[in-house]
Structure formats: structure tokens, C-alpha cells
């Protein structure tokens, strides 16, 4: 399918065209990766401030507290606390996970894995990054505004997010940032979808694509359809805030006409539920591939996995109402959303069957990308199953807006995606930068992340079931919640421990960039297209566009005679 797009672009010569306004998908991927890692650090710091407050309300934050909050003697004040959990969610979802999983891996892997020389629209790709960066700048500025940044939760429900509840400029900046981010995501998504459809190497059918590309492609489709919906929602919110319209206003404060705040929730969650799949699909794809690569065995039921990912993408668009059971929608809608939500179990069960089927009777190499992938299977198991309690209306009546929800979505969206992202970084680092990361440090990083991570998020499930609700500055003003202090303390110390272990990752990443041993062309002995070219690849990726002759997971074929246990996608499938 190589169309007329696939010509060799001239190599950039100046610093600006090479590193800043680069059209090269590999450079843009690295730009997104750096952006994501920086924001991941920021979001992580916010998480620590939140956790400290929940375990030790009224106690100054150690070391940095006095500098950050001089007016309250180092204690996080309640209004700052609201900003912190709002921006923690916003930063992690839009400025950490999205740039790393979609921006970095999407840009890096899609062209290389389908045998293309660049994205279909390189300039759009460049704009996509710079719009994301501009959007990130708005987030930074909003933190410095007089009344602080947005503080109504990352969902920004009106009427709290209108002038009635948030008079500060921060909320408007938040809306503008999200809108700009939406432009960036839409441009990226259109590009990914087109690239996958038009620029696959000759011979590569859709089911010959690695599952990573499947995940990223489906993510891009969902992004292209649903991010504009969020864009529309925040535009209406901006109109309400700045131009005096009343789309979302109602009640005593809506003096100039009345709209409906619940309308925003519908608009938000029509986007918001696909969004959680937008975030997790790339991780599912990466994990599905890596389990096969390191078990040295074809991906079990790869076609079923790809089709299940497609099915779950479709289903994700019709289940959003389960976020709104407590708003009392019509009973028919409530029942329908509950039933539709439950069907997602079938596709999830197929993923698990296929993942475990892949490692069954394999010859597993426990390199760091594999450890992180196995970690994803574990945490996504917990995250997925706890979704059942929340998809059921009656149990949700109790659990809605408690820490049970927080634990659940952190297991699925944060833990699974974070571990999947680390798996991807450890796996593609040699291709991206031409050097190997230190394997011992990577393994320490894995265990140092995995164990405290479960302490944090399982602890959240526990306090949530115990009745502790979300977004409260000091839970212990409720006498009935004081019994949960020890569990909250455990969660906080787990978070601090997990944060500390990320320093090992940052050190390993930076050190390996400069001092890591040179990577060979194919250090993991994998047959997908990106491993047929040097590490790092040349500017135009492929001197000759490869011709694909077999699938991406050809491992352990007993007919292989040349001493290898895998074959490249460019080789004819060896028959007996």
C-alpha cells in the first residue's frame, strides 16, 4: 500500500529544523517523550502533596512545604488542595500519559512498524506537538495566576466550573488549555489513522500489523471522533464563563436564563469514557506484542485480540452513562447503560485468555520489558474486575465518588498505562537512542514500582469501601472515617516509596542516553520491521521500502534452520 507519499524527505541541516520544528516523526516522538516525562514528574509531585495531606492533615509538607506554602507555614491549604487534585488528574491524563503513550510511541512506532518513511502528514505532526506544548504552557501559567488554576476536579462539572463556583481566571485557562490540547490530539489522530491506512509496506495486511499498531490505530480513531466533543464542551463552558451565556447554568444563581448542568456531564462523558480506552489501548497493544516477543511464541489468538480491541473501542462509545448513575437519569437509560457496560467483560476476558495463552508453554525471557508487561496483566486484572462493582447500579449508589472509584481507575488508567509505558520505554529505548538501558536498575525499578503501587491503589479500594469519599481535604473531620487513618498512612508511605524508586528510572534513562552500551540492530531478537534497520534508524528510516511476507509474531517455528528462533517480517514464512 505504499502510496505517492512515501518519498525520501531531504535531511534537515540546521539545529532548528533538526530538533525544534522537525517534521521527522522520530524527533517528534522524542519531543513528546520529554514533555510527557517532565509532566509525569510534575503530576507525581502533586500526587505526593495530595497524599501527604490525606495522611497528615495540618502537618507541614516535609522539605518543600515552607517554600511552596509560606502563608500557611508549609501546610497545604484547602484551596490549593483542590487545585492539586484537579491539576494532578489533568496533567497526568492529558500531559503525561497522552504524550508518552500516544505522542511518543504512536509517532515512533507506527511508521517504523509498518515500514513507512514518515507519517502521512509530517507538517501536521509537527503542529500537533507544538499545539500540545502551547497547551502545556497554558497549564503552567494557570498555576501562577492570582486565584490559582482550575480547582473543580479534572471533570470540571458546571456549575462549579462556571463563574458561580470558580471566579478565577485559572478555570478559563484550563478550558483554553484543554481546547488547544484537543486540537493537538485531533491533528495527531487524523495523521495516525491516515498513515496506517495508506502507508503500510507492500504485503502488510491489517492482521500483519503488530498489535501495538492496532492499539495505537484504534486509539487514534477514538481520538479523532471524541476529542472534538470535549472541545465543543469546553467552548460552551468558555462562553458561559466569559460571554455570559447560560448553557450549563441553573438554580438560584442563574439569573439571566437557565440551562442544564447535567448536559455538560453527558458531553464530558461521551468523550470521557472513550478517553479511558484511548489511554489504555496503546498499552494493551504493547503488552500483547511484548508478551509474545519475550515468550518466544506467536501471540495467542492475535486476530481475536485485534478484533476484541476493535469491539471494545466500539462498546466504549455506548457505556458512558455509568459515570452518571447518581444524577438519576431515566430508569431506562440507567438500565441500558448498566447492561451495555457489562458486555465489556467479554472482550476483557478474551484479552486475558489470549495474554495467558501467549505465555503458556512459552520459553519466557524475563527482561525488563517483559516484567512490566506481566505487571500490566496483574494490575489490569484488579482494575478491570473492580469495574464490575461500579458498573452495577445499586453497588455504585454506595461506591460512587468514593476512593473505591479512585482505586479502580488508577489501577486501569494509571497503573496499567504507566507499567505499559515503562515496558515500551525499556523496549524501544535501544532503537530510539541507539544505546541499551541498564537491566539491573530496570529490574530494581520494576519491583520498586510494582509493590508500592499495589499498596497505594489497593489501599484506595479499601478506604473507599470503608466509606471515604473523594476530593476531601481532611477526611478525618468525619468521626466515622478516623478509623481509616492507618490505611491512609500506609497509602501515603507507599506513594513516597514508589516516587523514590522513579529516581532510579530517571537516572537510568539519563545515564544510558550518554553512557549506555551501544545497542545492536536487534537486541531483543524480534522480527518486526523496526528491528531490520540500524539503531537508531537513519533519517528516512528505510533505504528500500520493505516487503512484508509474514506476521509480526513468528517465534519458535520448528522449521527454522538458521539457528534463530524467530524470523523477520520481510522473510517468507518457513514451511516444513
Amino acid at each position: 500500500m505504499s502510496g505517492g507519499f512515501n518519498e525520501i524527505h531531504p535531511e534537515p541541516t540546521t539545529f532548528i529544523s533538526k530538533y525544534l520544528i522537525s517534521f521527522d516523526h522520530k524527533v517528534i516522538a522524542k519531543q513528546f517523550l520529554w514533555m510527557g516525562i517532565i509532566f509525569l514528574g510534575l503530576g507525581g509531585m502533586m500526587a505526593l502533596l495530595i497524599r501527604w495531606t490525606l495522611a497528615y492533615p495540618g502537618v507541614p509538607f516535609p522539605l518543600l512545604g515552607g517554600m511552596l506554602f509560606p502563608d500557611s507555614a508549609g501546610v497545604v491549604p484547602p484551596d490549593v488542595y483542590a487545585t492539586l487534585f484537579t491539576m494532578h488528574g489533568t496533567v497526568m491524563i492529558f500531559y503525561a500519559i497522552t504524550p508518552i503513550l500516544i505522542g511518543a510511541f504512536g509517532n515512533y512506532c507506527i511508521p517504523l512498524m509498518i515500514g513507512a518513511r514518515d507519517m502521512a502528514f509530517p507538517m501536521l505532526n509537527m503542529l500537533s506537538f507544538w499545539f500540545a506544548a502551547l497547551s502545556g504552557l497554558f497549564v503552567f501559567i494557570s498555576l501562577l495566576l492570582p486565584l490559582g488554576s482550575a480547582a473543580g476536579g479534572w471533570t470540571s462539572y458546571p456549575t462549579l466550573s462556571t463563574m458561580i463556583g470558580s471566579p478565577g481566571l485559572g478555570q478559563t485557562f484550563w478550558c483554553v488549555a484543554i481546547f488547544l490540547f484537543g486540537i493537538s490530539s485531533t491533528m495527531g489522530a487524523v495523521n495516525y489513522v491516515t498513515t496506517v491506512i495508506t502507508l503500510r509496506a507492500p504485503g502488510m495486511g491489517y492482521f500483519d500489523m503488530p498489535l501495538t499498531v492496532w492499539g495505537l490505530w484504534l486509539t487514534a480513531i477514538l481520538n479523532a471522533i471524541f476529542v472534538p466533543v470535549l472541545g465543543a464542551g469546553v467552548i460552551l463552558l468558555i462562553l458561559d464563563r466569559v460571554f455570559g451565556t447560560t448553557f450549563f447554568l441553573a438554580g438560584a444563581s442563574a439569573t439571566s436564563g437557565s440551562g442544564d448542568p447535567v448536559l455538560f456531564q453527558h458531553v464530558f462523558w461521551i468523550f470521557g469514557h472513550p478517553e479511558v480506552y484511548i489511554l489504555i489501548l496503546p498499552a494493551w497493544g504493547i503488552v500483547s506484542d511484548l508478551l509474545s516477543f519475550f515468550a518466544r511464541k506467536p501471540a495467542f489468538g492475535a486476530k481475536a485480540t485485534a478484533l476484541s480491541m476493535t469491539a471494545v473501542s466500539v462498546l466504549s462509545t455506548v457505556v458512558y452513562g455509568h459515570h452518571m448513575f447518581t444524577t438519576q437519569m431515566s430508569p431506562l437509560l440507567t438500565q441500558s447503560f448498566m447492561t451495555l457496560t457489562m458486555t465489556i467483560s467479554i472482550t476483557s476476558a478474551i484479552f486475558f485468555a489470549n495474554w495467558l495463552g501467549t505465555i503458556w508453554k512459552g520459553s519466557i525471557r524475563f527482561d525488563s520489558p517483559m516484567l512490566f508487561s506481566l505487571g500490566v496483566v496483574f494490575v489490569f486484572g484488579l482494575g478491570g474486575l473492580t469495574g464490575l462493582h461500579l458498573g452495577t447500579v445499586t453497588t455504585d449508589l454506595y461506591l460512587h465518588d468514593t476512593y473505591f472509584v479512585v482505586g479502580h481507575f488508577h489501577y486501569t488508567m494509571a497503573a496499567s498505562v504507566l507499567l505499559g509505558g515503562f515496558a515500551g520505554i525499556y523496549f524501544w529505548f535501544p532503537k530510539m537512542f541507539g544505546r541499551m538501558m541498564n537491566e539491573t536498575l530496570a529490574k530494581i525499578h520494576f519491583w520498586g514500582t510494582m509493590i508500592p503501587l499495589n499498596g497505594i491503589f489497593f489501599g484506595m479500594l479499601m478506604v473507599g469501601y470503608g466509606g471515604m469519599h473523594r476530593r476531601i481535604y481532611n477526611p478525618f473531620v468525619y468521626e466515622s472515617l478516623q478509623r481509616l487513618i492507618p490505611i491512609n498512612t500506609m497509602i501515603t508511605w507507599s506513594a513516597i516509596l514508589m516516587g523514590a524508586f522513579q529516581i532510579i528510572f530517571v537516572f537510568n534513562f539519563l545515564w544510558s542516553l550518554k553512557k549506555g552500551p551501544k545497542a545492536s540492530q536487534n537486541p531483543w531478537e524480534v522480527g518486526t520491521l523496526e528491528w531490520t534497520i540500524p539503531s537508531p534508524p537513519v533519517h528516512h528510516n528505510y533505504d528500500v521500502i520493505p516487503v512484508v511476507k509474514c506476521g509480526p509474531h513468528e517465534f519458535g517455528n520448528p522449521n527454522l534452520k538458521n539457528g534463530r528462533d524467530f524470523q523477520y517480517q520481510t522473510e517468507e514464512l518457513v514451511q516444513g
Binding site: 456549575t159 447554568l249 495467542f300 486475558f352 495463552g357 519466557i364 445499586t394 469519599h469 476530593r471 466515622s480
Partner: protein, 260 residues
């Protein structure tokens, strides 16, 4: 160090149990939670057996030659299909059915003040307090004899209580952990919830929806009284209301005409 406290996990398990159920149908929610959790634990154990078992059995050291299969043989597809179907049939269909029955037979079976004895209360949420309104002797809301309380809800034991709720400013959520119920209060809308409680005592009412800086302080007290105690309190309060309520005070007239 928090991690060292893991040794007392037995008591942690008890600590994380939800507060005492004081309602006639809260046990339905607890039952469904337990049922779902048991099945989740069962399937999660299966995942762990696969994950850790296969990792142990089929490591590079123990198993040199992997089994070359795409997993698309008939028996493979059959096993995958059985797993998918088993999960859907045992968990999803069951919990959906149970939950739907509970909704239709209990939580959505709205008591009708015309045909049975129902205590009616109007609730208004605002940043950051709860206000409750009882109809008073004339059984009409928003009249001068209404009993209005702030952050202090008193209800009789063993009586159905029907709440109509709204919000003045932003969205709040009326959350009573001891009866396992929660409903959003939304400006411009009236939502409703009913319960019947069976244990006198004092309990927490919380706001569960982020509603601004002092969201965490938006709590009220629920006092469940015996029938006699409640009637005595209500009679005194009605008298007090008639004596002190100012009919011209617009702020006091936040109630609305009750519609079923």
C-alpha cells in the same frame, strides 16, 4: 513506616468494612457487593495461577522449546470462548439481574404519600451546608409553619422517608454511608431518594460531589429517633416555627410545592 504495619492486616480488613447498615434495604447492596467480590476473587485467582504458574513453568530455563501455535486451533478458540462466556454468564448477567431486581423492587419503588404513611422532607444543598424542610401541620411545603433545620436531619425509625432534593448553587451529592445511598443534588432539578431506617442513633451525612474549597466540611448529622421522640421533637419545632418564622423572610422560603 506504613509498610511495617502490614502485619496487622487482619484488623485493617475489619477497618475497611463499610459503616453499620441501619436501613431496611442496605443489606441488598452489601449482599451484591459481597457476591461480586467473591466472583472477582475467584477469577483473579485464575489469572494469578496463569500468570505466576506459567511464568514459573515456562521460563527460559525450564522450557527451552516453546510450543509453536497461533492459538487458532479449534480447541484453543473453544477454550477462549468458554472463558469469555463463563465470565459473562457467571458475573455480568447475574449482577445485572440482581441489581435490576433490587432497583425495581426496592430502590425505585417510590412510596406514595397518598396511600401509605410516608415522611416527606425537602432538601436543599448549598455551599457548604444542608438544609432540610418538613411540611408542618398543614402538610404543605413552603408555608409559614414549615420546620426548617440546617445540617441537622431528624427522622423517625421504621418509617418510610421520601426526600426531594435540589441545589442552590453547584452540584452536591447527598451521601449517607450508613444507608448505602447517594444521590446528586443538581441546580434546576429535583432528584429523589427514599429509605426506611431501623436503628436509632446519630450518623454522618456527607457531600460526595466536589463542590468547592470547603467541600470537606459540608457534613450534616442524621439523627434517627424513636417514633415518640421524633413526634415530640416535631411538635415542639412546629410550635417554634409558627412562633418565630417570619413570613416575609424570602431567604426562609426556599421550599417548593411538593409534586410526586
Amino acid at each position: 513506616m506504613g509498610l511495617l504495619q502490614l502485619g496487622v492486616s487482619q484488623s485493617w480488613w475489619q477497618l475497611s468494612m463499610p459503616p453499620k447498615d441501619i436501613s431496611t434495604n442496605g443489606h441488598l447492596i452489601d449482599h451484591l457487593w459481597n457476591y461480586t467480590t467473591m466472583l472477582c476473587i475467584f477469577y483473579f485467582i485464575l489469572v494469578c495461577i496463569g500468570l505466576f504458574g506459567f511464568s514459573f513453568l515456562y521460563s527460559r530455563k525450564r522450557n527451552k522449546t516453546p510450543y509453536y501455535t497461533y492459538g487458532n486451533k479449534k480447541k484453543h478458540l473453544l477454550v477462549t470462548a468458554i472463558i469469555g462466556a463463563a465470565v459473562f454468564l457467571t458475573i455480568d448477567l447475574n449482577i445485572t439481574r440482581i441489581s435490576n431486581n433490587d432497583l425495581l423492587n426496592q430502590f425505585w419503588k417510590w412510596p406514595d404519600p397518598k396511600t401509605e404513611k410516608v415522611m416527606r422532607v425537602e432538601v436543599m444543598a448549598q455551599q457548604w451546608m444542608w438544609s432540610f424542610r418538613y411540611a408542618g401541620p398543614d402538610q404543605e411545603f413552603n408555608t409559614a409553619d414549615d420546620v426548617v433545620t440546617n445540617n441537622d436531619l431528624r427522622v423517625p425509625v421504621n418509617t418510610k422517608v421520601l426526600f426531594h432534593l435540589t441545589s442552590k448553587d453547584v452540584i452536591h451529592s447527598f451521601f449517607v454511608p450508613n444507608v448505602r445511598l447517594k444521590v446528586d443534588t443538581i441546580p434546576g432539578r429535583v432528584t429523589r431518594v427514599w429509605w426506611e431506617v431501623n436503628t436509632p442513633g446519630k450518623y454522618d451525612i456527607a457531600c460526595a460531589e466536589m463542590c468547592g474549597t470547603h467541600h470537606y466540611l459540608m457534613k450534616a448529622q442524621l439523627t434517627v429517633l424513636t417514633e415518640e421522640d421524633f413526634n415530640r421533637w416535631l411538635a415542639t419545632s412546629e410550635q417554634l416555627a409558627l412562633n418565630t418564622n417570619d413570613p416575609d423572610d424570602k431567604n426562609l422560603a426556599w421550599g417548593w410545592k411538593w409534586e410526586n
